[in-house]
């Protein structure tokens, strides 16, 4: 292994080195500082006489005398089942004082794309116990469903609630599930120590740590390191899912910090920037993370992703949420207004979406009435929401009786259906029954999205009677 002391330029997170032997693109580099400290980096560009290196731990303190070694391989993650229960830093070094990790295998962290032909379509319902998700925007195994949030909102509470409560209701006599266990991989990028503690405390309190692998890159850790943290997490997830049959839930937070790191590297390389200064290849880069969710034909396990991002300025047209939404299979919106009204979790179901829902619900999966109930609630809630604007202008009296019912529906939907608190887990039956309680406020013939037989079966006749009486 050749050692060079030929650094020609240091700029932001980048170091340029003159070389006289070819170096592989993406290869890992070790830089030894004069005081003996070593930093790691990766080859971003390789030419016959020089290379550009991105240094994970930052370039502070590096000078021309530092020596550079090219390790002749791309970045690898040592994987083993023993990673469960362990806590590592953002580059995969254990920080929990536990025993040395003896890897079963070392895997390339960039990961190869899953052959679309080899995928299996995700359609197993995951019950999160959260009505706004299970009822309205159902999550399925192998899906990538981000949480669109913003600063100061309780997205972490929701992520933890899901990690705690997520179960897959046993199919009758279901035997295809034996041996598949549940694991959580937590990849933190640039979150505060306080947030990190919140997660760790919860993991410890609930005993979830045993079945978790934690990668922590905190706010004061080097930004460039953030570009590898999610790859380490996903490499571990793929190993556990597709070699060891685990159903893995990967929580990545905060993707916004990850994207900022990409922008920083792009700027240092003087690349032509795309929208709002983010690199033009950010879509591809994010896709290479998010597309690592899924199921594979013939394998037991699955990788489900729950990335969290905070939208700068609460703006979902900002490139980070925008590109994410274009890649993921839906999104869950955390809403500032609902939050200030005290609704927990403050999920706004209208812009939220689960694209894999349609195949994951219905008879034999959840319940026969699920799709219709969901459609009707969406329609009724949207109607109520619209009327709220109008009512501010003309007052409730100017509205028809039916319109008033829609307004009441919208209120009760938020207060009873969405607002369930962070400690309540509702079964899908409970969620749907609650949906019928609310829908029965409306007259039968307003339920035009529901099959007539289902209305006969579930509609609460007395419910309308009550409202009519109350009005009389």
């Amino acid at each position: 292994m050749k050692e060079y002391q030929t650094i020609t330029e240091i700029s932001g997170p980048l170091v340029f080195v003159e070389t006289d032997e070819p170096v592989g693109y993406d290869d890992i580099v070790e830089i030894e500082l004069s005081d003996g400290e070593t930093r790691r980096g990766q080859v971003l560009e390789s030419a016959s006489d020089y290379v550009a290196i991105q240094v994970f731990e930052g370039t502070e303190g590096i000078d021309r005398d530092a020596s550079v070694r090219f390790l002749g391989e791309t970045m690898k993650m040592p994987v083993t089942e023993d990673l469960l229960g362990r806590v590592m830093d953002g580059t995969g070094q254990p920080i929990d004082g536990g025993p040395e990790i003896v890897p079963d295998e070392r895997r390339d962290i960039v990961g190869e794309a899953i052959n679309p032909y080899s995928r299996e379509y995700p359609e197993e319902f995951i019950q999160t116990g959260v009505s706004a998700i299970d009822g309205m925007n159902t999550l399925v195994r192998g899906q990538k469903l981000p949480i669109f949030s913003a600063s100061g909102l309780p997205h972490n509470d929701l992520a933890l609630q899901i990690a705690r409560q997520a179960t897959v209701p046993e199919e009758e006599e279901g035997d295809d599930d034996e041996g598949s266990e549940f694991a959580v991989i937590f990849g933190a990028m640039g979150i505060t120590a306080e947030e990190a503690n919140e997660f760790m405390d919860d993991f410890e309190r609930t005993g979830a740590l045993e079945r978790s692998v934690v990668f922590m890159n905190l706010a004061d850790d080097p930004a460039v390191e953030r570009t590898i943290t999610p790859r380490l997490a996903l490499t571990t997830a793929e190993y556990l899912a597709f070699e060891k049959d685990y159903h893995v839930l990967v929580i990545l937070t905060d993707m916004t910090n990850y994207c900022e790191a990409l922008r920083e590297i792009g700027a240092a390389r003087e690349e032509v920037p795309g929208r709002r200064g983010y690199p033009g290849y950010m879509y591809t880069d994010l896709a290479q993370l998010y597309e690592r969710a899924g199921r594979i034909e013939g394998r037991e396990g699955s990788v489900t992703q729950l990335p969290i991002l905070t939208m700068p300025g609460d703006d979902d047209t900002h490139p980070i949420p925008d590109l994410t939404g274009y890649i993921t299979e839906g999104q869950i919106y955390i809403d500032r207004d609902l939050n200030s009204q005290g609704i927990q979790p403050p999920i706004n179901v209208l812009p939220s979406l689960s694209r894999l829902m349609d195949d994951g619900i219905g008879e034999g999966l959840t319940r026969a009435d699920h799709a219709d109930v969901k459609d009707q609630i969406f329609a009724a809630y949207a109607e109520g929401e619209d009327l709220r604007d109008l009512v501010n202008i003309v007052g409730r009296e100017a509205l028809s009786e039916l319109d008033n019912k829609y307004l009441d529906f919208a209120d009760r939907f938020e207060e009873e259906f969405v607002d369930q608190g962070t400690d309540t887990a509702r079964s899908i039956d409970e969620t749907l029954e609650l949906g019928w309680d609310l829908l029965s406020m409306l007259p039968k013939d307003a339920l035009n999205r529901i099959d007539e037989d289902l209305i006969e079966e579930h509609y609460r006749e007395d419910e309308t009677a009550e409202t009519v009486e109350a009005e009389a």
Binding site: E21, P22, V23, G24, Y25, D26, D27, L44, E45, S46, A47, S48, E73, T74, D108, V110, E112, A113, I114, N115, P116, Y117, S118, R119, E120, Y121, F242, V272, P273, G274, G280, Y281, Y283, T284, E291, R292, G294, E297, R299, T317, H318, P319, D322, L323, Y326, I327, E329, G330, Q331, L350, D375, F378, A379, A382, L390, A398, S400, D445, N448, E452
Partner: protein, 586 residues
């Protein structure tokens, strides 16, 4: 993808630099757009720039670990597709490598690199039936025989477009593989079922004709309001989650094309899996065979190499043109053309080209028009007529249609299906905005609808458009004063328009019956709303209060027509009920 077998000019070069998908090589003797094999693993690439002694290559596979000094091999031939029987029911990556073959060769569910495979099975034999006899004169493009490729499609074996032609001296029926000679000409030329064609070059035709037949989609809002012609072009722009992919899938399933080429360009893996799993189970409404029998899939998902994403639309359209040459109506869906444009941008920026608008290369607009120009209703060189319809999804950043890809696309295409986030949010599907969308084919397709559906199709549609327009205007007033402040006739119009939206424009892609709607049913639902309209206004004129008119219990049944299998009777009965219930009021 072609293996470029017939080439012995293997000019070797040396890698000079590697930066992501862009590699430069020294001393390589290659032409623009030639295929080359890069590095010791032989990764497939294409020459995209030549400057002095330095050749720039875009590589269709991951380049991690590739280093300067490794060899580059030229093949002497441009990026081409393999054409011949065996393309239907197939799934390819962006450079026409069959993904099922790759899975088998790589022995893994993950895409390894450095593995190549021909686009069609070279060993499989097909039953060839001659269409010409010994002694016949044939020219370029002529059909010399047929092969039953799938239960739905007879594959026409054609004289290659660049052939000199001549007199047939030998031809016989029998089972052949695609590389065996099936026809010999007096010039000594031997014709096989296997042809190659460079993807960036349009296949020749005699002329483009004006399309007069609609591509029936089975989607009410499209067939009813914004029809596309066979041989036409359409764009579906919309923000994420607004329904581009579902609409494209609906077209791939139900459009009355002979052949469907579906290009998943830089989108999700699971969406392709959905097609692979669903299509073999679904029945083609025209032939009754499995939908997969008429479908060719190209899947270069977002996480697959970006250079192959750039080429996947060309691979798709070349395959489409080949089937067009056989006299078929082909429909190509590209989801999403924005990802293709972004791939261009990514490569261009690695080349440090001067960026145009929003970082896209200056040639963006030219590339888009070249691509859509390959659509059309054509007279082929063998005298048959065939068409390629192109429907491109566009994914504008932030849902803002003023961005370059949407704008450049709209300058070319003739049908615009504008998806609307507001409609999607309130689960009005398909969320195609009826005020913004348009079809420039409407007038030229009217005669077809008059003849094949109903003579008053255009008038009834105009009534629907007027009603929806009026609703849009009235809604603005309602936002300010509430519905009850409007005069009764306007309140009634709002109610009718609501039924038009809910019963006619909305259509649930996931409902077994509603998912496909034949033109006759599209007409009848629209006409049922009009029946209610006419009878209701008569009642209003007779002095019946509007609440009573809108309260009749037959009216809400309009919204259930979509899901009725025996809709014909259902509508007959419903129209009677509506009329008699209204009559009872005065």
């Amino acid at each position: 993808m072609s293996q470029a077998t017939d080439t012995d000019v293997r000019e070797d070069g040396i890698i000079e630099s590697v930066s992501g998908p862009v590699v430069t090589a020294r001393d390589l003797d290659a032409r623009m757009n030639d295929v080359v094999y890069v590095g010791s693993e032989g990764l497939m690439g294409e020459v995209i720039e030549i400057e002095g002694n330095i050749t720039t290559i875009q590589v269709y596979e991951e380049t991690s670990g590739v280093s300067p000094g490794e060899p580059v091999e030229g093949t002497g031939s441009p990026l081409s597709v393999d054409l011949g029987p065996g393309m239907l029911d197939a799934i390819y990556d962006g450079v026409q490598r069959p993904l099922d073959v790759l899975e088998e060769k790589m022995g893994s569910a993950f895409l390894d690199r450095g593995v190549d495979a021909p686009g069609i099975d070279l060993e499989k034999t097909w039953e060839f039936t001659p269409e010409v006899e010994e002694g016949d004169e044939v020219e370029a493009g002529d059909i010399v025989g047929t092969v039953p490729e799938t239960p739905s499609i007879d594959h026409k074996v054609m004289v290659p477009p660049d052939s000199e032609g001549g007199e047939v001296v030998a031809i016989e029926s029998g089972n052949f593989n695609v590389e065996e000679t099936v026809v010999e000409l007096d010039s000594g030329e031997e014709i096989q079922m296997h042809q190659e064609w460079p993807v960036r070059q349009q296949r020749p035709t005699v002329e483009k004709e004006t399309p007069t037949e609609p591509l029936i989609s089975g989607q009410r809002v499209l067939d009813g309001l914004f029809p596309i012609a066979k041989g036409g072009t359409a764009a579906i722009p919309g923000p994420f989650g607004s329904g581009k992919t579902v609409t494209q899938h609906q077209l791939a399933k139900w459009a009355d094309a002979d052949i469907v080429v579906y290009v998943g360009c830089g989108e999700r893996g699971n969406e392709m899996t959905e097609v692979i799993e669903d299509f073999p189970e679904l029945e083609d409404p025209t032939t009754g065979n499995a939908l997969m029998d008429r479908t060719c899939l190209i899947a270069n998902t977002s996480n697959m190499p970006v250079a192959a994403r750039e080429s996947c639309v060309y691979t798709g359209i070349t395959i489409a043109e080949y089937f067009r040459d056989m006299g078929y109506d082909v429909a190509l869906m590209a989801d999403s053309t924005s990802r293709w444009a972004e791939a261009m941008r990514e490569i261009s920026s690695r080349l440090e080209e001067m960026p145009g608008e929003e970082g896209y290369p200056a040639y963006l607009s030219a590339r888009l028009s070249e691509f859509y120009e390959r659509a059309g209703y054509f007279e082929n060189i063998n005298g048959t007529e065939g068409s390629v319809s192109v429907i491109g999804a566009v994914s504008p950043p932030g849902g803002d249609f003023s961005e370059p890809v949407t704008q450049n696309t709209l300058r070319i295409v003739k049908t615009f299906w504008a998806l609307d986030a507001d409609l999607a949010e309130r689960r009005h599907f398909p969320s195609i905005n009826w005020n913004e969308s348009y079809s420039l084919y409407r007038d030229q397709l009217d005669p077809w609808f008059e003849e094949n559906v109903r003579a008053d199709w255009p008038e009834t549609r105009q009534w629907a458009i007027d009603t929806l327009d009026e609703e849009a205007e009235l809604q603005e007033i309602v936002q300010l004063v509430g519905k009850d402040a409007l005069p009764e006739d306007q309140q009634l119009t709002l109610e009718i328009a609501r039924y038009l939206r809910e019963a006619w424009l909305q259509q649930n892609a996931f409902h077994d019956v509603d998912t496909f709607c034949e033109p006759e049913k599209t007409y009848r639902i629209m006409d049922a709303a009009k029946t209610y309209n006419d009878a209701a206004f008569e009642a209003l004129d007779a002095g019946v209060p509007v609440e009573e008119i809108t309260d009749i219990d037959a009216a809400p049944r309009l919204n259930r027509i979509g899901v009725q299998e025996d809709w014909d009777e259902y509508i007959d009965e419903l129209e009677d009920d509506i009329e008699s219930q209204l009559r009872e009021l005065y």
